[in-house]
């Protein structure tokens, strides 16, 4: 009964374009997309190097990156908080309780996801792609791009999985963002706050948006992977 009422109120909030609600959605998207935009290139480059270049300690590094996949968000938040606090080594930057701090935290969380998935994708690529590119006169960078293009669906899966990880995380955002209204309040921290106030409608409405985003990302991913699979299947 109450569940239904709350859900109905939530839908009304969504339908009427409640400005506060969409502002919160905006903060979430701005922060997570910025983090993803900034970290994607370096993370994929790191993944390629780890998968393709032999150097001492490489295996240990791969294991480390894969281990960091389960990095607790609150630990990232705690470390970042201590670094950015006024007493911390980076206190002069005055970044604590800003969107920039949240972006930094989400970059740290997305990095191992993107890197580990890229490693797997590149390792699964046909090594001859790189060699062929080199023999055709391509430099190392161009040859690497050719390989990454070959496994682009795997790399995309890495990016989408990274997005899924950071758009829904709350621990780090709450600690270094501070859940400040209109500034650093994103969907997960707002849901936690509304629930603690006993105002479930706004929480449910944001939950619906979050679910749609997560589902949408997964559907897009499935569609892309389906396409990739088809291509491979047709190749002799």
């Amino acid at each position: 009964m109450e569940l239904w009422d709350t859900t109905r109120q939530a839908l009304v909030l969504l339908g009427t374009g409640d400005p506060e609600l969409w502002q919160i959605v905006g903060v979430s998207l701005r922060v997570s997309l910025s983090a993803l935009l900034l970290i994607t290139a370096p993370a994929i480059a790191a993944g390629f190097v780890l998968a393709h270049v032999a150097f001492p300690g490489r295996r240990a590094l791969v294991v480390l990156v894969q281990g960091l996949l389960s990095l607790p968000t609150v630990v990232v938040g705690l470390v970042l908080y201590m670094l950015l606090s006024r007493q911390g080594p980076l206190g002069d930057w005055h970044l604590l309780f800003t969107q920039k701090a949240m972006i930094l935290g989400q970059m740290m969380l997305a990095l191992p996801v993107l890197t580990a998935y890229t490693v797997t994708a590149v390792q699964g690529a046909d090594a001859r792609v790189f060699e062929t590119a080199v023999s055709l006169g391509a430099g190392g960078f161009r040859a690497a791009l050719s390989t990454l293009w070959e496994v682009r669906f795997g790399v995309m899966a890495a990016v989408f999985t990274g997005f899924g990880r950071i758009i829904s995380e709350i621990g780090c955002s709450l600690m270094v963002g501070g859940n400040i209204a209109g500034l650093t309040r994103n969907m997960p921290t707002a849901i936690a706050l509304e629930t603690s106030k006993g105002q479930f409608a706004q929480g449910v409405a944001l939950g619906i948006v979050l679910l749609i985003l997560a589902l949408g990302v997964n559907v897009a991913l499935a569609a892309l992977q389906g396409q990739g699979g088809m291509r491979k299947a047709w190749q002799p």
Binding site: R86, L96, F97, I180, T189, L193, S196, K197
Partner: protein
């Protein structure tokens, strides 16, 4: 959820001794039934009850069982006759409780107070102001940073009431931050942001060393947080211990009880101010 009133090892030991003494002593009269008191977490967590109730128990021979919950829940327990007496701090709710016939003989007991804290540099220049509203106005006018609880708590409601009284919409101050978090987190955030905030004295005292925030404005009656004690109406619930409830009401508002409240100090600072004599 009936926890014994006395908290901590020391007061626990005192309670135990009292219990043994009561058990050993050849009680002439039939044993008094236990008294059930519903109160707020603030009175219990601060250690105040651990000091007050043993004194009352020694004097009256009535054992008090404390249920520490929020004010709303405490009044609900009284309404249902699950407790005999309530000690809470929300005057409008208390008046409604009495008006509805759930409780009788409401008495003022004490108050604790809220203070405006901020960075020692005090950019808005409010240090030592007697008038809390004036301090709030100056903070808004200078555009100084201010962190609000923003979580619908009692503290948040008090802050909003101040802005309302001034006719100021706090969101229009570019330095205003609505955090939606607990008192401790808001104090830490205010320290990080060099901001002002409104806090209860006890939490400020607990965190002052960590935050470096100092009390700039305090003592304005507007920032007082009064506690009242109400006996549950025996005409609604015949089985409540009304005699015991009135014994506690009378004792806590007596000069002896009031002195005990004034004498209760944490780290040398008085947290509750008796105000039963009016």
């Amino acid at each position: 959820m009936f926890s014994h009133a006395t908290k901590g090892v020391k007061s626990g030991a005192v309670g135990l001794l009292l219990a043994i003494a009561a058990g050993l002593g050849a009680a002439p009269a039939p044993a008094e039934p236990d008294l059930r008191l519903a109160t707020t977490t603030s009175t219990d967590n601060s250690g105040l009850l651990g000091v007050l109730l043993p004194k009352f128990e020694a004097k009256s021979g009535i054992k008090v069982r404390v249920i520490a919950v929020g004010t709303g829940k405490a009044l609900k327990l009284g309404e249902n006759g699950d407790v005999d007496v309530v000690l809470v701090h929300s005057r409008p709710d208390e008046d409604r409780f009495v008006a509805a016939g759930f409780g009788v003989n409401r008495r003022d007991v004490m108050y604790n107070d809220f203070v405006i804290v901020g960075p020692a540099a005090d950019p808005a220049g409010i240090r030592g102001m007697q008038d809390a509203l004036g301090a709030f106005r100056r903070i808004a006018q200078t555009g100084a940073a201010f962190v609000s609880r923003g979580d619908d708590s009692g503290t948040h409601k008090l802050e909003l009431a101040c802005w309302r009284a001034l006719g100021i919409r706090p969101e229009t101050n570019p330095g205003y931050r609505s955090a939606g978090r607990g008192m401790g987190e808001v104090l830490l955030m205010a320290a990080e942001l060099n901001a002002y905030t409104l806090t209860d004295r006890a939490t400020q005292r607990a965190l002052a060393k960590k935050t470096g925030l100092t009390i700039l404005v305090g003592g304005d009656p507007r920032l007082f947080n009064p506690y009242g004690i109400i006996a549950v109406n025996p005409q609604r619930h015949a089985d409540v211990n009304f005699r015991g409830a009135m014994a506690l009401v009378d004792w806590i508002t007596s000069p002896e009880g009031q002195q005990a409240i004034a004498d209760f100090k944490v780290d040398g600072e008085q947290l509750f101010f008796p105000d039963a004599q009016k």
